[in-house]
Amino acid sequence: MRESAARVEPLAVPLDRFKTADSGFAEGLSALKAGASYRSFGAPLAVAALYFAAAKLGGYLAFPAAPVSALWAPNAIVFATLLLAPRSRWWAFLAAIVPVHFYAQFPVYPFAQVIVQYLMNVGLALIGALAIGKFCPLPRQFDQVRTSVVLVVCGGILAPLATSLMLAGAFVAIGITNEFWLTVIARTITNAFAVIALVPLIVHSVERLRRGRKEVSLARAAEAVALALCTTAICIAVFVLPLEPHERSPLWLYAPLPLLAWGVMRFGVGGACGLALIVGAVSTWGVLNGSGPFAVRDPVQNALSVVSFQVMAGAALLLFAALRNEWRQAVEALRRSELRFRSIFEDNIIPTLIWRDHFRISEANDAFLRLTGYTPADIEGGVLRVDELTARTRDAGATPARQADLFERFTSTDNELTLRDGRRVPVVIRHSQFAGESGGVIYALDLSAFRRAEAQRLCAENLHAAVLGSLHDQIAILDSAGTVIEMNESWRRAAQSDSPARFDRVVAGESYLQACERAAGDGNRAAREHLDALRAVLDGAAMHRHLEYSGTSAQEPSWIEVSVERLRRPEGGAVITRTDVTARKQAELDARNQRQQLTHLGRVAVLGQLSGAFAHELNQPLTSILGNAEAALKMLARGTDETAEVKEILRDIVHDNERASQVIQRLRALLDKGDIQRRAVDLNTAVGEVLDLARSELIARNVQVSASYDRFAPPVMADRVQLQQVVLNLLMNACEAMASVPVAERRVSISTRFVADRTSVDVAVTDGGGGIPPSDLERIFQPFVTTKAHGMGLGLAICRSVAESHGARLWAENGDTSGAVFHLTVPVEGVLA
């Protein structure tokens, strides 16, 4: 037996349509997957066997005098098989029947008859199966009215009739019989009964078996048996009891009806078919015995009439069963639908209620009860009315007679729902009316949370606007494209006040970025700085940028500080703040001026100490010049040709003159109270120059200087002259500290060092004096603190302020030997103060 692994035939519809329960054919087809397949040879053989058995049975049950069998099952079996099997396998079954049919009929009956019979029998089954296939949508079940009707009409009447006509015609033509109409009628009604009684039963049972054995309770089995027995008994009483016709009331015929009704109600199609068979069997038995309401005429007529009766009864029972099933299914579907609705209604998070007649609220879900505070008891009391729910509708006065008016009021947007305790909440109400009846559904969405959020948002917005409005600084908010989306009052006023158009007078809606681009393109330097800062922040390269620029008019200088900050939100953007810093700037300038003056004073004081040194420095070249000049004069006076030597002398004079100029320049530079120029200064050469300057002074004081330079020290951003002044001051202080030290020990060392953490360069001046008491190490940098007999004590204070203006540190410590060490630590790439 071949078990096919392939799946269901194209005949089959997609299986997911069969997911509903109670789908007979569907279950059968899905049972195909389990392998018990109609493909095997077993099924056709089984069917053939049944066919044979049924044919024999039919033969036994033939009416003696009429060409009618009480139960001609074979055709019904074939019919049922065709309904159950996939269409592609039909040939197998029809073929399997051929030998059996022949075996059953031949050679008793003539060959032609057998053939014709075979064809017509098969034809009947085919017509019926095809009809059902065409007219009945899947799933096909005989407990549906439609299927039953088609079965009865097509399979039970039309198919038998058509095939009987053809068969009778053939028989008459062949000469088997010459009773055309009798043959037709007999065969028709016989087959009709068989089809009606057996096909549903077979199909139903097979499906039942395919689905698997369901537990049949003992009670139900007992009931079925009881019913069968009772029906049999009644039928016997009706059909078999020998009674004279005149003693029989026609009412007897209706005696089995209650039992039949019971059977159909309780057992559906199976019950209908089974009872039909019982009735059929018993009534046939009665006719055969010659008793009963059908045994009144000649045998043929009797046979025909009893079978007709059976057909009617069977059809009626089948239809009744179908109706009953459909009714039950409808009830079940209704129940399920009701359950679904219930759950939707009850579990909805939106407060929902249902009202019925006279606007009374009949049901409300949990959400509604929670919202309003009503209890289920209130609802059940039926006193709540829809029109009383909302203040609007209540205040509207008398209940509008027309529902339309009421509901119109509902759909306005500012409704308020009245809670049980009298409070009101803002809601959105929607309603929907039941079609065709009085009543409807009402949904109420609580807006309190939304209203609260709305109020908060408004509050925040108002605060935001108030803050912006009250700020003195001008503030504008840009989006990521550089367009002004919001500006505060100060900004607006500033933008609209200035008469000469400035590039940054941009108002909301205009692009600040473009304004800056235009002005920068025109060469406006401030605009270019703005543009760079804006671009950097908007592109995300920087979190903030600051810039300053001076105002327009020269008479009244003004300074504006602009800060561009990145807006911390996903869409980007920037906040521009403009502050008038004129006063602050002025104060800064004043302070700087004062510091410069002070520094100058200090410088002058130090220079006073160096006057002797300067005089000496100038004297050297002057002596040289004088000596050279007089020598030249002498040479020329000799009269000999000394041109070459005189030339050399003159060159030397020029050179000496330059030397003298340099000294004077340096002097001038030191005296210059000029603006601070921050340049890259190599501290090594700067310190060297200071040593040059002070050389003669150091010699005069008999001080020996040793210098060590760190060649890795990088340049610092500073004012060269100012730093040199500080170093000079320290040098002079060192010399003075050693005034009472023996000459041989008067040593000063200067060193430059690139500090270990690579942030600054340290210039250290170490002397061989007596050192500084630890408690004075900081004090000496304060103004008016001095150890000199005549000195103002400003030198170190000024030096420290100069150092601090460079972001540098000036500090002192005691060295390893007896003297003190002063450090000037200058940061690299100056962190300018």
Binding site: H616, P621, L622, T623, I625, G627, K634, R695, I699
Partner: protein, 214 residues
């Protein structure tokens, strides 16, 4: 051969090269021979104390300064005359220098004729010193020729004693004394007692008898 036969030079010590060049030129043009050094140390190392010449030095120099140089020279017994030329002089400094024996103390910028005058003076001084030294040396040499006895006689003669007194003091005959005296005069190449006195006064006496107090 006397040391005085060498041509006198000017020895110039100044740390500033421009000044050295210029002064060298000026002095050379005046006909002096000039040698110059950058520092006092270099000068002390290289110069020959006996060579004739004077020293022109700056005061403010690194290391050994001018005044220190002056001190060292005199400590080493060199009495070469010094002319100081300085850019930063002060009165106390100049007084110190002069008192220590400097010929002059000039301030920069210095006029050539002023410098030349001072140099000439210094060279003259140097010549005189040399001359006196040479003289002394000569007398010393002659003195060495004397015997002990002659020496004694010399001492007494220079002290102003008469022969008779000398004879009495030394315990010798007068005649002998006369002979000694004659020899002394010859060896000492003195033409008169006065010259003898002059000679011996140039040399430190071994032990001077007490001068005759009449």
């Amino acid at each position: 051969m006397s040391a005085t036969d060498e041509k006198p030079s000017v020895f110039l010590v100044d740390d500033d090269p421009g000044v050295r060049t210029a002064l060298t030129r000026g002095l050379t043009a005046e006909g002096f021979g000039v040698r110059s050094w950058e520092s006092a140390d270099a000068f002390l190392r290289e110069h020959e104390p006996d060579s004739p010449g004077c020293l022109v030095a700056d005061v403010a120099m690194p290391g050994v300064d001018g005044l220190e140089l002056q001190t060292r020279l005199s400590l080493s017994g060199c009495d070469r005359p010094i002319v100081f030329v300085t850019g930063r002089g002060s009165i106390p400094m100049s007084v110190r220098a002069i008192r220590a024996g400097a010929v002059n103390f000039l301030s920069k910028p210095v006029r050539l004729e002023e410098l030349v005058a001072a140099v000439r003076e210094a060279l003259e001084q140097d010549r005189l010193i040399r001359f006196a030294r040479a003289r002394r040396a000569l007398v010393q040499a002659r003195l060495k020729l004397l015997t002990a006895r002659e020496r004694e006689v010399l001492d007494l003669v220079v002290a102003g004693r008469m022969n008779k007194q000398i004879a009495a003091e030394l315990g010798a005959a007068e005649k002998t004394i006369k002979v000694h005296r004659g020899r002394v005069m010859l060896k000492m190449q003195a033409r008169s007692v006065a010259e003898l006195v002059t000679f011996t006064s140039q040399v430190a006496p071994r032990h001077a008898p007490a001068p005759t107090v009449e």
